[in-house]
Structures are given as C-alpha cells and as structure tokens.
C-alpha cells in the first residue's frame, strides 16, 4: 500500500501544473467580474482534464515509460492530450451554459489548431514540471 501511495505521489508535479492552468483561467475570469458559475466551469472543465493528463504524464515518467527531461516525448504526449483536454473544456462549457452538447463547428480545424498550440503548452509544462519535481525530490530526501 505504501508503495502504491508513493507511486501515486509521483503524479503530483504534472497534476499540479494542469490544475494550476485551469485555476489561472478561472481565477482571471472571476477577477474581471465574470459570473462565478462561468469561472468555476472554466476552472473545472479545463483544470481537471489538464490535471489528469499532467498527472498521467508524471506517472509514465516515474514508471520509466517516458524519459525524464526530454522535450520530444512531452511534445508528442501533449499533441494528443492537449486538444482532447480543450475539447472536453469546450463541450462542457457548452453543456453547462447552453444545456446541450455542442462540438466546435470545424472540429478538424479546431483539433489541428489546438495541436499546434500544444507545442507551446508542452514547453511551459515541462519547464514547471521539472522544477516542481526537483523541489519535491529535494524535500523528500531531507
């Protein structure tokens, strides 16, 4: 059980970065006077998928399935995961605000665009992920 808990703890850096991104988007929305519900939906609908995928990435690194500190695997991972997270965000916002599931009008264009943006997201994700993981390792070894 202890081993399992320790292993799940490895998910923290990636999950943290993903959730933080959702929190930033939602927090800014609340700050400028958007309805609280809208801000919450954005926080949850974007933060949860990004956090889940981020945590998944950290676990794959911890299990040795992905090499640590390399850009190409991170970029490939998010090339798939980021557009999916955004799709979840878009459809959830539509569902909550309009009451029905609506896909983006040009789905292929939407996914392609998100795929390109994912490269930028991957740089920032890896940057923060490495730093948080290093800090956690240093704390754990003390």
């Amino acid at each position: 059980m202890a081993i399992r808990e320790g292993f799940l703890g490895e998910a923290v850096p990636g999950a943290f970065v993903g959730l933080a991104a959702g929190l930033i988007a939602g927090g800014l929305a609340a700050l400028v006077g958007q309805p609280l519900g809208w801000a919450l939906v954005t926080t949850v609908a974007l933060g949860l998928p990004l956090g889940a995928f981020g945590g998944g990435f950290s676990l794959l690194v911890a299990a040795g399935r992905l090499p640590a500190g390399r850009f190409a695997p991170v970029a490939l991972y998010w090339l798939v995961a980021f557009p999916l997270a955004r799709l979840v965000h878009e459809t959830t916002v539509g569902l909550v605000l309009a009451g029905q599931v609506r896909l983006p009008p040009d789905l292929a264009g939407f996914l392609a665009y998100q795929g390109i943006v994912s490269l930028g997201w991957a740089i920032g994700f890896l940057w923060l992920h490495e730093r948080i993981a290093m800090r956690l390792r240093a704390t754990a070894s003390r």
Binding site: V32, W121, W127
Partner: protein, 497 residues
C-alpha cells in the same frame, strides 16, 4: 556534481605544482583546470531563463503584433531572422563564458581594453533610466487602479531588498523567474488556445517564410526606423546577451564552476575570494573535449528550445490575439497604427475584451505587467552584475571590496537614481538624448557581434573555436544591425523607433 563550486574551491586552493596556462591577449594567462562534467541528460533548468525574462518583452507582445496589423503577417520573416540570429549569438556568447568562466566583457578587455570601457559607458547611459518599468506598471494601474509611479517606486525598493537579503542572488532569481516565465508560457498557450483560430495561426506562421516581403509603405521615414527597432527588439536587445555570460558563469556552467557566486549584501562576508581571471581546460585532452561537447549540446538545447521556442510561442500567440482582436474591432488597427505605446496597449486590451470578453482584456494587461516585472527583475540584476564585474577586474583598488559589495553598490545606485527620476524627471531619459540612447542600444548589438568574432577566434584555443558557418552568421549579424542602423540614419535622418 552536487556543488560545482565546492570542487572549484578545492581545486583553486590547491593548484597543481607545475601550473600550465592558456595565454590569451595581454591580460593575465588562464590556468588550466578540469572542465566539470556536463549535466547527464538534457535538463531544462538553465540560465536561459534570464535571457527569456529579459528578451520576451515589448518586441514580442506589442511591437511585432503592431507591425502585423499594419503590414500583414508576411512582414514576420524579419522577426524570424532577428530571433534566429539572436539564438546563434547566444550560443557564441556561451562558447566564451563556458570555456573560460569569464564574462564577454573580460574577453573584450583581452582583445582591447577600450572596447570593454565602451560597453561600461553604454550600460551607464542606457540602462540607468527607469523607463522600462512604465509599461508594466501602467498595465498594473489599469487592472488595480494603483498609480503607476507608486507601484514602480515600491517595486524598485522591493527588488533592492530582495536581492540584498538573498544568500546567492543567482539561485533566488533563477527560482523566481522560472516560476514567472513558466506561468507566462503556460497561460499564453491556454489563452491562445481559447481565442485563436487555425486561420490566424497559419497566416502568422506562413508569414514568417515570406522572405523579401517589404511593402513600399515600410520604406518611409515613419515606419523604417520602427521596423529597425522591432528587429533589434526581437528577442534580447541592447546588452542583454552580454549579461547572459555572467548568468551562465554563476549557474556553474562549464568553467564557470571554478568562479564563486555573487551573494546578497547580507551574506557578502561569506563570498569566496574572486579569482583575478578565468580558467581554461586542456583542449588537447580528448576526454576533456568530449565533456566540452556535452556542454555545447546542453546550451544548444537551451538556445533552440527554450530561448527560440518560447520567444516564438509568445510572439506568435500575441500576434494571433492581435489578429483576432482586429477582426472583431476593425478600429483597433487605426488606434494601434497611430497611437502611442500606452494608448495602443490599451486599445489592444479593449479589442481583446470585445473579442473574448472582459477576461481577455485584463489577461492581456496582466501579461504586460508580468512581462514588465520579469524584465525589471532581470535588468536590475544584469546591469549591476555587469558593471560590478568590469569594476572589480579593471578599476584600480576595486579588489579591496568583494564582488557582492560592488554589485550591491550598483544595484542601490540604480534604484536610488530610478526613484529620483520617477518622482522628478523624465523616466525614459532626457528628451534631448533619447535618440542617442536608442542609437547606442542598437549599436551595441552590432558591436558585440564584432567582439564575439574577435574574442572567440583569437582568445580561445583552436579546437574550440567557432566553425566558419557560425562566423559567417555572426558577421552577417554585425552587418545587419549596424547596416540597418546607419541606413536609417543616413537615408531618413532618424535612428531606431
């Protein structure tokens, strides 16, 4: 190696009996020491964060989006050239700093001391003015209502106190800037993902490859100097690349591991004795050269992915946002084309707000404030670091002080001057010398390309000198910066905009 400086201290305190040296120029020769091992894998945490903090600024968030709105996305090929050139410059700056543990200023002094003094004077003239605070603080004023001079003055004092209390300034600043830059990059990507479209992105990216596109309107006294300034501001501008050599050294990269780190004023007494010159490794030893290649791989990763990649990401994202905004509010193009910087930034913010809701307008201003904060933190540290380095090594009697004391002296000097100017004077500098300052800033970029050619080809051992292609690119850089600057001056009688 857990603590490179520990190893360095041990080595410097017990030099080999028969010391071998590398003589470079007329200054003291560099003793041969071991090159530390390069990081085992390509890891992300490097001093590039300083260059990104300094480099990602007004050029990326305002100047280039503005040019795209005026001339269309095809003008961006000039940005591609500017940033790529800066990535090569960064690699060449790193070559000297990692091989010797000396700053590029020291290298310039090895070639010809007056060159170094030229950069000392340029830094004093150009970087003491607190004008760089105004855009970020004004954006903060729009969001919070706090008058910008108040937040700028408080910010200045906070920066001084923070740096004075730090045990090792580099570590503090790297940690702080890493988080800020990480947040900037992640937030920029998320906002661009929510607002932009495939069409905006493809036109922005394809515009980067329209080499030679230059509309007639751009060749006018009104726009040409602005384009020259925007190219100079693509990535790090002025002396920022030169300061990067000091950060690289303090991060312990390459032979920088043999040089003690600069400490905050409170911990200045703990600083190890600063050697009077750098060190060289044995370039005849194959094992040492293999380590050198490891260091070059490490810094190349930093230059291409982190520096080039992040600069591109931020500017592409802001351009996509600007295009999206101008589509929603056609008035924005005129406002941006005609307005002053602050008016144009506000116009862009309003346009973003109308395009994507009030959240987007404030997000834009938030980014500008964050970029301003990054630049200010980086700039104050870099300026003080550079001036202290030159003073310590080349001003008679300065070695009576520790490097940390000199650093603190320059830091608090520029802060005090900055506050006085913010309260009583023109923030950007006296109007009469604004053109001179803009000229010097761009001139320094052409000049450091020449310095790089001289230093790396004359002061380093042959096995680690740059290849011909690299020399051609840096030579092109010198002609590019100086040529555009003088062309603008001669043809239109205006320096950069």
């Amino acid at each position: 190696m857990d603590d490179p400086n520990l190893a360095a201290r041990t080595e410097t305190s017990t030099p080999p009996e028969k010391e071998r040296v590398w003589a470079a120029g007329k200054l003291e020769a560099m003793p041969i020491r071991k090159l530390p091992d390069a990081p085992p894998s390509i890891h992300l945490l490097g001093p590039t964060v300083f260059l990104v903090a300094l480099g990602v600024g007004m050029g990326e968030s305002y100047m280039w989006p503005r040019l795209v709105l005026v001339f269309g996305p095809d003008i961006r090929w000039l940005f591609l050239i500017g940033v790529t050139l800066q990535a090569v410059v960064m690699l060449e700056m790193a070559r000297y700093a990692m091989a010797t543990g000396e700053s590029i200023f020291f290298g310039a002094a090895r070639v010809f001391k007056p060159i170094m003094w030229f950069f000392f004077v340029v830094a004093m003239l150009v970087y003491v003015w607190p004008g760089h605070l105004s855009a970020g603080a004004a954006a903060l004023e729009k969001i919070t209502g706090i008058p910008w001079t108040v937040s700028a003055c408080v910010g200045l004092i906070l920066v001084g106190v923070l740096f004075s209390l730090a045990k090792v300034i580099y570590n503090l600043l790297e940690n702080l800037l890493s988080i800020l830059i990480g947040l900037l990059v992640v937030s920029t990507a998320v906002v661009a993902a929510m607002v932009g479209t495939w069409g905006d992105l493809t036109s922005t990216v394809s515009g980067m490859f329209q080499f030679g596109y230059f509309p007639a309107q751009a060749m006018s006294p009104e726009w040409f100097p602005i384009i020259v300034g925007s190219i100079a501001f693509a990535g790090p501008s002025g002396m920022q690349q030169m300061w990067y050599t000091l950060h690289l050294r303090d991060s312990g990269a390459g032979m920088g591991a043999h040089i003690p780190k600069v400490r905050g004023l409170r911990h200045a007494g703990e600083e190890e004795k600063m050697p009077a010159r750098g060190f060289m490794f044995d370039t005849d030893d194959k094992a040492e050269l293999a380590k050198w290649k490891g260091w070059r791989r490490w810094v190349t990763f930093d230059a291409l992915l982190l520096f080039w990649g992040i600069t591109m990401l931020v500017t592409v994202s802001f351009t996509v946002l600007a295009q999206s905004a101008s589509r929603t509010s056609p008035d924005v193009k005129n406002l941006i084309e005609n307005g002053e910087r602050e008016a144009a930034l506000n116009a862009m913010s309003d346009a973003f707000a109308s395009a994507g809701g009030p959240v987007l307008g404030s997000v834009f201003l938030g980014f500008i404030a964050l970029i301003g904060l990054n630049a200010t933190l980086g700039l104050f540290d870099s300026f003080s670091r550079g001036q202290a380095d030159m003073t310590y090594h080349f001003v008679k009697g300065a070695k009576k002080f520790r490097m940390s004391h000199l650093y603190a002296g320059f830091l608090w000097g520029v802060i005090t001057f900055g506050i006085l100017v913010l309260l009583f004077g023109p923030a950007d500098g006296p109007g009469a010398i604004l053109d001179v300052l803009a000229f010097l800033s761009t001139f320094a970029m052409g000049a450091y390309c020449v310095v790089l050619l001289l230093v790396n080809n004359r002061m380093l051992p042959k096995p680690i000198r740059p290849k011909l292609v690299t020399n051609i690119i840096i030579g092109f850089g010198a002609v590019f910066y100086l040529g555009m600057l003088f062309f603008s001056l001669v043809k239109f009688g205006v320096v950069v905009g």
